[in-house]
């Protein structure tokens, strides 16, 4: 039993090691994405700093600082969750582009182990990017974390990661089924999740017909809970109303995403889509 778990972890680590090696070789692109992430987050933070001048609202430094943190929590949390979604979604598309998809799928690696390895690699990258962006942004704008409950925030982030992994595994099915346009479909799903999850605003500003979508997006709860934890120091008991829905989405979406992925793999094998050129 233990030997098997060890063997599976060894197999899963192959994907982590591969992704690290690819990141090193594509280092210039990694810098591009990092700079892009920093600049985007910084731009959002400057919106908060400039808001009193634009709207004529309060210029109380405490309120402005709170607004800066409000937006930064949204943008950096979304960067973290979005990276998980993108990288997992690209699991198939990237391998198809490289031409390695057939070798990965004919290797004696259980699909669960394969996806677990990809999740591991994705989490390492997403966490590294998010920490780097936060550190870089803090050099330019005042980030007041004096009231933050870091433990609650970390629990929420971990929960959000789990919930998003399930969704991301599900979205990786698009490139498996639709070889030409599948990745674009996955990006559209990601964009809709961004819109409805209250990344930069409260979800009650959305049109009434759109708001139900925010209820099913785990990002809504994670970002809301992160704000409670980092702006107001909410402990686990206080973030629980936002924690359990995210946990529930994760508990449903991971097994569901895996089942859908396995079904899609079988379908791809029946229809001949499991190949490099589609």
């Amino acid at each position: 039993m233990n030997a098997n778990v060890g063997a599976q972890l060894g197999l899963a680590y192959a994907f982590v090691e591969r992704e690290i090696a690819l990141s090193k070789r594509y280092w210039a692109w990694e810098i591009v994405w990092l700079v892009y992430g920093i600049v985007t987050s910084l731009s959002v933070a400057y919106i908060a700093l400039g808001a009193p001048g634009i709207t004529g609202g309060s210029s109380d430094p405490a309120l402005v600082s709170r607004f800066v943190l409000y937006l930064l929590v949204g943008t950096i949390t979304w960067r973290f969750l979005g990276l998980i979604f993108e990288q997992m979604g690209e699991t198939i598309a990237w391998e198809r582009w490289e031409g390695t998809i057939e070798y990965t799928f004919m290797a004696p690696v259980p699909r669960l182990t394969h996806l677990l390895g990809m999740c591991g690699a994705t989490l390492v990258r997403a966490l590294g990017f998010s920490v780097a962006i936060l550190a870089a942004v803090a050099l330019f704008v005042p980030v007041d974390l004096s009231h933050a409950n870091v433990a609650s925030a970390l629990v929420l982030l971990a929960t959000g990661a789990v919930a998003f992994i399930g969704l991301a595994i599900g979205s990786a099915v698009f490139p498996l089924l639709w070889t030409e346009k599948g990745l674009q479909m996955a990006y559209i799903v990601q964009a809709v999740v961004l819109l409805v999850s209250g990344v930069y605003y409260e979800t009650n500003v959305l049109p009434a017909w759109m708001q139900p979508l925010s209820f099913v997006s785990p990002a809504t709860y994670v970002i809301r809970g992160m704000r409670d934890a980092l702006l107001d120091g909410a402990d686990l008991a206080h973030v629980w109303p936002n924690l359990w829905p995210a946990l529930l989405v994760g508990a449903i979406s991971i097994p569901l995403g895996l089942r859908v992925f396995l079904w899609a793999e079988r379908h791809a094998k029946r229809t001949g889509r499991l190949k490099r050129s589609g």
């Binding site: 192959a14 031409g99 390695t100 004696p108 229809t271």
Partner: protein, 280 residues
Amino acid sequence: MAVQVREAIRTEKKTAALAAFEVRKEFRPAKVTPGGGTNVRAVDDVSLSVWRGEIYGLLGANGSGKSTLIRLFSTLLTPDAGEVRVFGLDIGRDELAVKRLINRVSVEASFFKKLSAMENLVYAGRLYGVAPDESRPKIVSILRRLGIEDRRMREPLEQLSRGMQQKVAIARAFLSTPMLLLLDEPTTGLDIRSKREVQTFVRDLRDEHDATILLTTHDLDEASRLADRIGILHQGRLVAEGTPAELAARHGGGTLEDVFMTLTGRRLEDADATDAERPT
């Protein structure tokens, strides 16, 4: 299960490494034709057996169904009908165990292009449970034997020639010590020298490591040079099978080219040109 199978077949000489029974595979046409397109049968009730330790050459023109068969045997496609067994294991029901016994080299050397040969092969080794400590010296040894210098092993694969990349692909397949090696036109596009090196390596692989090899090719010279038995595939059907001598005796004598022409009504080069549109 794969370990038990390996043990069992060591003690038994006459074992079917690969057995296919009435395998059929159809594809829906890529483009919708006026009036609705009908499915194209890429593999049409093919039955064949490859014995342990044998090199079996599957000869056919482009579009004859060779690659589809290889993809079926390597678990990348599921057959619409029929059964495929690898050392007695069903490729559908015992997929993971079958995967541990096989490996494949395709016509395109598919790698992570920015990674080096060493990085690609260490990764491939890990997928087959070979730890880097074990795989690294083995990789160096195989690649040296295939004529790749040490310094080139650490260069991104996109900087290596097509011939070198194909040799790395063969090294990747060999690294997992497969019991059954599926070679899908491994020498297509290679220069004469690289082609000969690969062919020698394939034969050595069988002789030294008890591997069974299924080789697809549309190169008559390669088929007769390497294969113990040859199957001729034409429009998805296996139209003849035997040793080169048996085929010649059965189909009017002459060369393998003559046999191919007798069976299909065309020369191989002509068939390549006209059948290339069939899905594989």
